[in-house]
């Protein structure tokens, strides 16, 4: 038995899908083009300013942030992703038969993963990410 593949599927059956995609793209393009052609154009200073939820904009948007913001964002990402991985693992692990070789393997895997995050943590610590002064 061979696995089902795209090649085995009759491509004609995808025709309606293609048609819908064509219509969708066509609709979008047509709208943009039509707006450019027939839409009224009123340019003004007020119209050109940035939209800040009704407030008058202050200063420029191209301001440099302290590099620590990025570092903290990245450290957050590391631990965030860690939790994302840990949760399904923790939910599945109790279902494995105790004492089976599978269980040991699962444990080693997650310990390895935790090891990498610990390394990341030590690295972040030494880099001075957690110094807020």
């Amino acid at each position: 038995m061979t696995p089902t593949t795209l090649a085995n599927v009759d491509l004609v059956s995808y025709l309606p899908l293609g048609l819908i995609i064509t219509m969708a793209v066509g609709f979008a393009v047509a709208n943009v083009v039509l707006t450019l052609i027939i839409g009224p154009k009123r340019e003004g200073k007020t119209k050109g300013i940035a939209y800040e939820s009704g407030m008058n904009p202050v200063g420029t948007a191209r301001k440099r942030f302290n590099v620590r913001f990025y570092l903290i964002a990245m450290v957050f990402l590391v631990f965030d992703v860690e939790v994302v991985f840990l949760y399904p693992w923790a939910a599945t692990f109790p279902n494995i038969a105790p004492g089976s070789p599978d269980g040991l393997m699962w444990l080693i895997r997650i310990l390895f993963f935790l090891f990498t995050t610990v390394i990341a943590y030590i690295y972040g610590y030494r880099k001075g990410v957690f110094k807020f002064d």
């Binding site: 038995m1 061979t2 696995p3 089902t4 593949t5 795209l6 090649a7 590099v67 279902n95 393997m105 990498t116 390394i119 030590i122 690295y123 030494r126 880099k127 001075g128």
Partner: protein
């Protein structure tokens, strides 16, 4: 799982080395920071030993490929590491030693540099043991991602940063293209496992979607090996990065790309065409055109350069083209003279050593303009003038490396090229071999310029500030690489036997493939059953 672990020990060793290096590099104690390179070296040596002694594994189609490649990667990797010493943080460390500044972990990049170095080698070794498209993709990206950062931090100048960003964006484009190709391959065959894919092709033949996937994958991986039309970044990036990193770029991603191409191309195998011994026609034509264009473009553009790094960058493009001839030729009857795969593997070794020697010269010479700034690299061809007289060791390094890259007998490069010739001819690719021959001749022109400058010109009066680098390990790398060229020339026979073995290709017959699929089909059905909660 555990059988996979057995072949992954080299990668695990490298990874552990990476962890240690990353943390050591941020130590406030200078001794600990200096230990980074040593730890990295130990990790590479251990990984190399374990990798070449490990039980063979990886792809079932190229069963012997892994051990040879890992040994090769470790050898060249170690030389690259020697060359990379002192690339980052030189001025910083000098200022700290002079007491002008205290150690600031945010400014230090040494730990990261070596860690990325090892990460990239880890990815490269993973490429050698890949037998699955997803694995292959991750391995390729693990090889490349660290190099983007390495380029950007390799010097303090804005050029490096520009090069890093350019490299990153084009690299992302390349990755997207071959990922798309991988997706099509999956769509066309219903599997990501390369052995299973081979069985599918052997049993059912090719289908248009899979063929498109193959072609697109190859074009995308062309970025890693700097093949036309994905070569545009090469010269700028190599020039922008420090020479030690350029040497790294010229070997590591290229080797990764070639290992990946071999793994992918082995899936349909060399069982098509009129002779029944060549690649599927579409794939063959694509590779043919890419190879011919790559050689020609690389060599022609190299003629017009005055920067050594740019010359070497274009020459590395040309060498990619040469090696693609071996990929097109395929394994033939498996003997070294007809096995294009073995020819590629052997050429990677010769190219790695010779190219390292050539880049080492740029890394080892610098213009000293006072000690406040980082010294400039001596990258102009005029800097080489009269080198054999003023600095004989460096002079002969560049002379021997250039002549070797040119393929002048009896140096190593020639014996790298002969198997490409023989396998190409044996596969019936006479026209491509002629293109290869003519390109080798074109290449003579710019390699001769390097030789001419170093061996035969009078020293440049402007070259007073030129000096050899004070970093001893870099000079060691240069000398070892050049000595290696001579030693390997003499020992070429043994290496060729190793490459011949590594190039073993084990395709399935039609019946074997059907049996394999049947077994795999049952297995996959079993796996699809939901596990009892």
């Amino acid at each position: 799982m555990s059988e996979k672990l057995a072949i992954l020990w080299p990668e695990i060793i490298l990874f552990l080395g990476t962890c240690v290096v990353m943390i050591l590099g941020l130590s406030p104690r200078i001794e600990a920071r200096k230990a980074c390179a040593a730890v990295a070296a130990i990790a590479i040596v251990l990984a190399g030993i374990v990798g070449s002694l490990a039980p063979s594994g990886g792809s079932a189609l190229l069963p012997e490929l892994m051990n040879y490649s890992k040994g090769l990667i470790a050898i060249i990797g170690l030389l690259l590491l020697l060359l990379a010493t002192g690339t980052v943080d030189r001025a910083e460390e000098r200022a700290i030693a002079a007491g002008q500044r205290t150690f600031d972990p945010l400014r230090a990049t040494r730990g990261e540099f070596y860690a990325f170095f090892l990460f990239s080698l880890t990815g490269l070794m993973l490429c050698a043991s890949a037998d699955d498209l997803i694995w292959l993709f991750l391995a390729l990206e693990l090889t490349s991602l660290p190099t983007y950062v390495m380029v950007a931090i390799s010097t303090r100048g804005t050029r490096s940063q520009e090069a890093g960003v350019k490299y990153f964006f084009l690299g992302a484009l390349g990755a997207a293209i071959f990922l798309y190709g991988f997706a099509l391959l999956y769509g066309g065959t219903g599997t990501t496992n390369l052995t299973e894919m081979h069985a599918y092709f052997a049993a059912n033949g090719l289908n248009p979607i899979a063929t498109a996937g193959l072609v697109i994958s190859i074009v995308g991986i062309g970025f890693k090996i700097a093949a036309v039309p994905m070569h545009f970044y090469t010269a700028d990036v190599y020039q922008g990065a420090a020479a030690s990193v350029s040497a790294f770029l010229a070997f590591v991603p290229k080797t990764a790309g070639f290992l990946a191409i071999l793994a992918i191309v082995a899936a349909p195998g060399w069982a098509y065409g009129t002779s029944g011994e060549s690649l599927p026609p579409e794939l063959r034509v694509t590779l043919w055109v890419i190879a011919a264009l790559t050689m020609t473009v690389g060599n022609t553009l190299a003629l017009m350069q005055t920067s050594i790094k740019r010359i070497l960058a274009y020459s590395s493009i040309a060498h990619t083209g040469y090696m693609l001839v071996g990929v097109i030729a395929g394994p033939g009857d498996g003997s070294f003279t007809q096995n294009g795969v073995a020819a590629v593997l052997f050429y990677l070794l010769t190219y790695g050593v010779l190219n390292l020697g050539a880049f080492a010269i740029v890394a080892c010479l610098e213009h000293d303009r006072g000690d406040t700034t980082e010294p400039d690299e001596a990258d102009h061809i005029d800097d080489l003038k009269g080198l054999c007289r003023t600095k004989p060791v460096m002079g002969w390094v560049i002379v021997i490396s250039s002549l070797g890259l040119l393929g002048l007998p009896p140096l190593l490069g020639f014996f790298g090229k002969v198997p490409l010739f023989t396998s190409g001819i044996a596969a019936g690719e006479i026209a491509l071999v002629l293109v290869l021959a003519i390109n080798s001749a074109i290449a003579a022109f710019y390699y001769l310029r390097l030789v001419n400058a170093a061996l035969l010109s009078d020293p440049d009066p402007k070259g007073e500030t030129l000096r050899e680098t004070p970093l001893p390990l870099r000079r060691v790398a240069a000398v070892v690489a050049t000595g290696g060229v001579i030693v390997l020339t003499i020992a070429a026979g043994g290496l060729m036997t190793a490459a011949e073995q590594a190039g073993t290709y084990a395709p399935m017959t039609h019946d074997e493939a059907e049996r394999y699929l049947e077994a795999a089909g049952r297995a996959s059905q079993a796996a699809e059953l939901p596990e009892a909660p």
